[in-house]
């Protein structure tokens, strides 16, 4: 973000490998994400997409290769460390506490406090609601009832809350694992438009999807994985569905 060179990658993965015993889940894989760029990861089940994002987000350590963040090599022992460095993963199951408000979810684990009557520390719900309103507005997302638990909202709205949390904490890289999978068509389009917002804000997005339509609607580049190795990388503007499918299945 602070880099003077606008085209320097936010995140770069070089020759990354992850072996589980004899199984080479990921082998010598390289890719980069630049500011304001959406990179789609495609591949069949078991191609290594999940292994890759777990290695990037600190869930486990790669066997070989390196991860560079803003040009600096990094190693994450835990997902918390990755998050502190600005890499946020948004999981399929959303990781929201359904019974809490949008604000409470955004601040979960780092709630702001204020002093009531000048001495008694209490949760600053007003600040949480305010920040939530502000964040959701930045995502062009309008919710009137800031105190309602997120279980009252639709799947797309909840997805937006999860993205809003990442945005509030200033994540520079968002890894989104099948963000549209469980949603209806209008909701899918809402999420796609959210990704455009993130892009416009200069964040990098890694977007995993089985849905080529979504990939073509939102990504700048597509990286195809097959059996743990990179099967190809294309600019979206220079490829088509058929070519991507061929890369995925091999042929």
């Amino acid at each position: 973000m602070n880099s003077t060179d606008q085209n320097a990658p936010l995140l770069e993965v070089r020759n990354l490998s992850k072996h589980f015993g004899a199984v080479r889940a990921l082998n010598d894989f390289s890719m980069a994400v630049r500011p304001g760029e959406v990179v789609a990861l495609a591949g069949d089940n078991g191609a290594g997409k999940t292994t890759l994002i777990k290695a990037i987000s600190g869930v486990f350590q790669p066997t070989g290769g390196e991860i560079l963040l803003g040009g600096q090599p990094v190693a994450f022992a835990t997902p918390q460390e990755a998050r502190e460095k600005g890499i946020e993963t948004i999981y399929q199951d959303l990781a929201l506490a359904d019974n809490l408000s949008i604000g409470a979810n955004i601040f979960l684990g780092r709630e702001p406090m204020r002093k009531a009557f000048g001495f008694l520390p209490v949760l600053d719900r007003k600040a949480m609601a305010e920040a939530a309103r502000e964040t959701m507005k930045r995502l062009d997302f309008h919710v009137s009832r800031m105190n309602a638990p997120v279980s009252n909202f639709s799947g797309g709205q909840r997805q937006a809350v999860a993205i809003g949390r990442a945005v509030y904490w200033d994540a520079q890289i968002l890894i989104m694992d099948e963000p549209t999978a469980a949603l209806g068509v209008p909701e899918q389009r809402k999420v796609i438009s959210l990704i455009h917002q993130l892009k416009a804000q200069g964040r990098g997005v890694i977007f995993i999807s089985h849905n080529l339509q979504d990939i073509f609607a939102v990504s700048d580049r597509i990286v195809v994985l097959r059996r743990g190795v990179q099967a190809g990388e294309r600019k979206i503007s220079e490829t088509n569905h058929d070519e991507v499918v061929k890369l995925m299945v091999g042929g």
Binding site: G36, P79, N99, G109, M113, G155
Partner: protein
């Protein structure tokens, strides 16, 4: 930075969805949330009418009745406040009843022993302190079993139920332990402007616990863990530490309950809390908490505990055979859960339209 981003594809913005804020839903939600207080009001009205028709006397305006109900509710309420935290987190603490008994025995012994060495009021305080601290020990074990060794709360605390029971009876020598301390007796039976000390202590305690649950990070994390423990973990909350503190807290609530029991009866009895365990769970459920975790409030639990106390005392007052108490409390629990289910279904159907 935004200036460098390429021209956005012509993706049409989807109109933001209206959130479901219609007044009917929120009214039903409010009623369901406050149902324990409605139950309480309904019960009091019923007993008032019954009492006037049958005896020509008032039920609720009789200060003696109010005092008795309040004292009656103190011990179950103390257990139920701890239980509220545990149930919101998605667990349950079955050991609270006998931890309370253990604490009552410890309070009696410790007060007597300290009374031989230090002034009586200090001995009383030492006794209460000892009871609460010793009660924390089974709480620590519960917490470690559940958080570190991944024992399900139902089983872990069931085991502790047995252990605390045995230890309490052993320490009491199989009988009740009388307390020889006039201050302790005064604490248990004295009044401040007509309000029993026990009720005052319980009221202050409940306010503190309400604060802890509704206004602190601990309380907030408790709700989050009950709703989605994965989400809480990913948010960086120390789940193990929280669970440990949680079961220590609930055990210490029972410890205070045991100390107050010893004060009220000037004796410690191992079986002090035996019938109160299920009352505490019932109070939490009537108060609006879900046994699946994630919901519930201390204020609801207060209403739930009062509902049970009013039923038990009221039926005695109107001269009904005591066995009807069980039936009445049972029916209230079932109705309460049915309301909860209905409300969930009602609001659940509106989530993803």
């Amino acid at each position: 930075m935004t200036s460098t981003s390429p021209a956005q594809p012509a993706e049409k913005h989807v109109a933001p969805q209206a959130d479901h804020g219609d007044p009917a839903t929120s009214l039903i939600g409010r009623i369901a949330e406050g149902r324990a207080w409605l139950f309480l009001a309904g019960l009091i009205i019923c007993f008032e009418i019954w009492s006037r028709v049958a005896f020509g006397a008032t039920f609720v305006l009789n200060p003696f009745n109010l005092q008795s109900i309040a004292i009656f509710a103190v011990a179950p309420l103390l257990l139920a406040t701890g239980q509220t935290f545990v149930i919101i987190s998605g667990g349950i603490d079955l050991s609270l009843g006998f931890i309370m008994g253990l604490a009552a025995v410890i309070a009696a012994h410790a007060t007597n022993m300290a009374g031989a060495a230090i002034p009586l009021p200090l001995a009383m305080l030492a006794g209460i302190l000892a009871a609460v601290i010793v009660a924390g020990v089974p709480g620590v074990i519960n917490g470690l079993l559940i958080s570190r060794l991944r024992v399900p709360p139902f089983i872990g605390t069931l085991g502790m139920f047995g252990v605390a029971r045995g230890v309490a009876f052993l320490l009491a020598g199989g009988t009740t332990v009388p307390v020889r301390n006039s201050w302790f007796a005064l604490l248990g039976n004295g009044r401040f402007y007509g309000v029993p000390y026990l009720v005052l202590i319980a009221a202050v305690f409940v306010i503190v616990m309400h604060y802890l649950l509704s206004q602190t990070r601990f309380g907030q994390h408790n709700y989050a863990i009950g709703a989605n423990v994965q989400a809480a973990r990913r948010a960086g909350i120390d789940i193990r530490g929280h669970i440990l503190r949680l079961y220590v807290l609930s055990a210490m609530c029972a410890g205070l309950g045991g100390a107050l029991y010893a004060a009220r009866f000037t004796a410690g009895a191992a079986q002090a809390g035996e019938p109160l365990l299920l009352d505490s769970v019932a109070a939490v459920v009537i108060g609006g908490a879900s046994l699946f975790g994630g919901s519930g409030t201390i204020l609801g639990t207060v209403a739930g505990a009062l509902v049970i106390a009013v039923i038990q005392y009221g039926l005695v007052f109107v001269n009904v055979e005591p066995f009807w108490q069980f039936i009445a409390v049972g029916v209230v629990i079932i109705i309460s859960v049915l309301i909860d289910q209905a409300q969930r279904r009602f609001s659940g159907g509106r989530q993803d339209e």
